[in-house]
Subunit: 293 residues, 2 copies
Amino acid sequence: MKLLGAIEAGGTKFVCGIGHEDGSIIDRVSFPTTHPEETMAQVFQYFEGKNVEAIGIGSFGPIDPVIGSPTYGYVTTTPKPFWSQYNLVGAVREKIDVPIGFDTDVNGAALGEYKWGAAQGLDSCLYITVGTGIGAGAVVGGTLIHGLSHPEMGHIYVRRHEQDTFAGACPFHGDCLEGLAAGPAIGSRWGRPAVELAPDDLAWEIEAHYLAHALMSYVLILSPQKIVMGGGVMKQSHLFPMIRTKLQELLKGYVQHASLTADIDSYIVPPQLGDNAGLAGSIALASMALAGK
Amino acid sequence: MKLLGAIEAGGTKFVCGIGHEDGSIIDRVSFPTTHPEETMAQVFQYFEGKNVEAIGIGSFGPIDPVIGSPTYGYVTTTPKPFWSQYNLVGAVREKIDVPIGFDTDVNGAALGEYKWGAAQGLDSCLYITVGTGIGAGAVVGGTLIHGLSHPEMGHIYVRRHEQDTFAGACPFHGDCLEGLAAGPAIGSRWGRPAVELAPDDLAWEIEAHYLAHALMSYVLILSPQKIVMGGGVMKQSHLFPMIRTKLQELLKGYVQHASLTADIDSYIVPPQLGDNAGLAGSIALASMALAGK
């Protein structure tokens, strides 16, 4: 079977791996994201002699994923030191001459869950990660969403929870979804990390409120056949039933579909690929690149 | 050139027409939407002897556009008397044995603008109508958005304008976008029809606030390459510059793209197909059906 390379380029760490076209992963390593030169040297060292036939890169953003654009393949306006306007695809291409797939980490994860995970056999799905930041990617009619650039679904505005007085932590928008509901926002609002809060703490009621409001917009705009929720904050599994109930309250029965009523427990789910969702997503991007898509 | 039939099935009126695969329309009639039997009799009378090779139907909703579903082709849970659970495609198929394309009126209009109008040459666009109700359709990577069913973008929640005390008029959600910003909501809030309000009335500042908030979500979730705004309320053309400015204020420069900065005047535009956007959309649906897509 053909060997595919995967790079999950995160703002905190890089994960590199090797896998097959069936989504299986046979090797993985990870190292901290530091200066591009240092980090990329580790990437090249890892892939040396591995003979991969394509590489998929699921990257932190914002990025330019638009093929034909002068800055295609770049990490663009990230506040992360040294990585702004960094030509990530160009750097890889210079060292490893194989087809390269490039997209956001969350579009990659959405593609992975669509091909091999929770959304297998469907033609649409949404993947959202709630962690240090909030991001989401989506497959529509078998295709990843692109347009002007890529989705930035973590920055939509949501209605404030009545009991929430926290100002919001997004450096751009203040109290957008990410500013109110990402891990650091929870930590700042309550003065301690989210993991230290009891499951019946008001913190989770507020968190579920914001995430359900986000899902309401995603459902009404994209009508995805499956919603996969990953990331560190979603390890708090008691959030899932709370989010499902709140989403139903918001929809008020307007969209008639069993996935939103009787079957909602299998509609909003954790990643089936677990902690490999990101890396498998990059394998999926490599597989698409190999197929010339 | 092949003759294509178009049915723009609206909640107030039906428009039927004949056109070609280049989007040109050579004939059109319209009549009020009454009882299905009466209205459909007029549809069949119109198409008799016209020898169309396919028919496209852009319908008011909610509908079931999912091919293979037991209720495919139905108008589903509409509050409109007599039309709930009406098998619209089935009724047409019984009388006219040609390929039939079926989608929401707004998905049809989005497809029309994508093929022949404001979004020609791009691979994504969003069409929103603001009139008696609010609805939107979108093309992503050349494909209309479907999933569980079709988008219901008019019912997203948006942040309230600080000076707005109107409760909202949506029978399902109260103060969702449609409940706050459709024509009837404007009329109820101010005690007179929108057309009677002066361009510098606070009404328009509030209207632009809600529509810009909706566009903020659409842009961050779909990243469309063009936004086309039609419908009765958007005939108030002074809304366009207000919406553009407010959207830029909300984005705060987060998404870096000329379409959202220097070129925003050509990014958010009225339908290029004008009042034919809906009918041309149905022609586009017919054309897709003929091609077997």
